[in-house]
Symmetry: C2
Subunit: 116 residues, 2 copies
C-alpha cells in the first residue's frame, strides 16, 4: 500500500488560494507541480502535447519544435512526467506523452478558484 499522494491528489487537497490559508505541507506538495510548469520550454511542451491531435504526441513530434538538443527535451519531459502532468506510453520505438488534464484542472481550480 502506497501512502504517497499522487500529484493530482496533492493539488486536489486544498481549498483555493483565496479560501483558507495553505498549510506549509500543502504548499510544499503543490509547489513542485508549479515548478514543473514554470519553464518556457516545459510550458510549450505541455501546450504542444495537450493541443496535439488525439491528445497525445510522441517525442519525435516535439523535438523539432525547439532549438534544443534531444536529451534536453527528454529531460524536460521527464520532469513533467515525474510531476504527474504528463502520462507516458511506449509504443514500438516511439514514446507518446499525454497531458493529465485532471491535474491541470485541479491546479487551475486552486489558483483561480473562488471559495464557494
Amino acid at each position: 500500500m502506497n501512502l504517497e499522494l499522487t500529484p493530482v491528489q496533492t493539488v486536489a487537497c486544498c481549498s483555493p488560494l483565496s479560501g483558507e490559508p495553505l498549510s506549509a505541507s500543502e504548499a510544499e506538495g503543490i509547489a513542485p507541480l508549479l515548478k514543473a510548469l514554470a519553464d518556457p520550454v516545459r510550458l510549450r511542451l505541455m501546450s504542444l502535447v495537450a493541443s496535439h491531435e488525439g491528445g497525445e504526441a510522441c517525442v519525435c513530434d516535439l523535438n523539432g519544435a525547439f532549438d534544443l538538443s534531444q536529451p534536453t527535451i527528454s529531460h524536460h519531459l521527464k520532469i513533467l512526467h515525474a510531476a504527474g502532468l504528463l502520462e507516458r506510453e511506449k509504443r514500438g520505438v516511439w514514446v507518446y506523452y499525454r497531458a493529465r488534464t485532471d491535474a491541470l484542472a485541479s491546479l487551475a481550480a486552486l489558483i483561480g478558484g473562488h471559495s464557494k
Copy 2:
C-alpha cells in the same frame, strides 16, 4: 507610452494550454508568473494575503507565519509584486499587500481552461 505588457495582459494573451500551442515568446512571458508562484513560501504568502480579512495583509501579519527572517519574507513579497501577483500599498509605517485576483484568474484559465 509603455509598450511593455503588464503581467495580467501577458497571461491573458493566449488560448488555454489545451487550445493552440503556445509560441516561444508567449511561453517566455508566462513562465515568470508561474515561477513566482512555484515556491512553498510564496504560495503560502499568496494564500495568506488572498484569504486575509479585507483581502489584504500587512507584512507584520505575514512575518509571524513563517520560520524565516524578515528580509527573506520581504524578498519573496518583492518577487510576487514584481510578477504582478500582489499589489503594494504603504499606509503609515505599514505596507499592505493585496492579491491580484484578475491575474490569478487569467493564469488559472490558461492552465485549466478548455478551448470551447
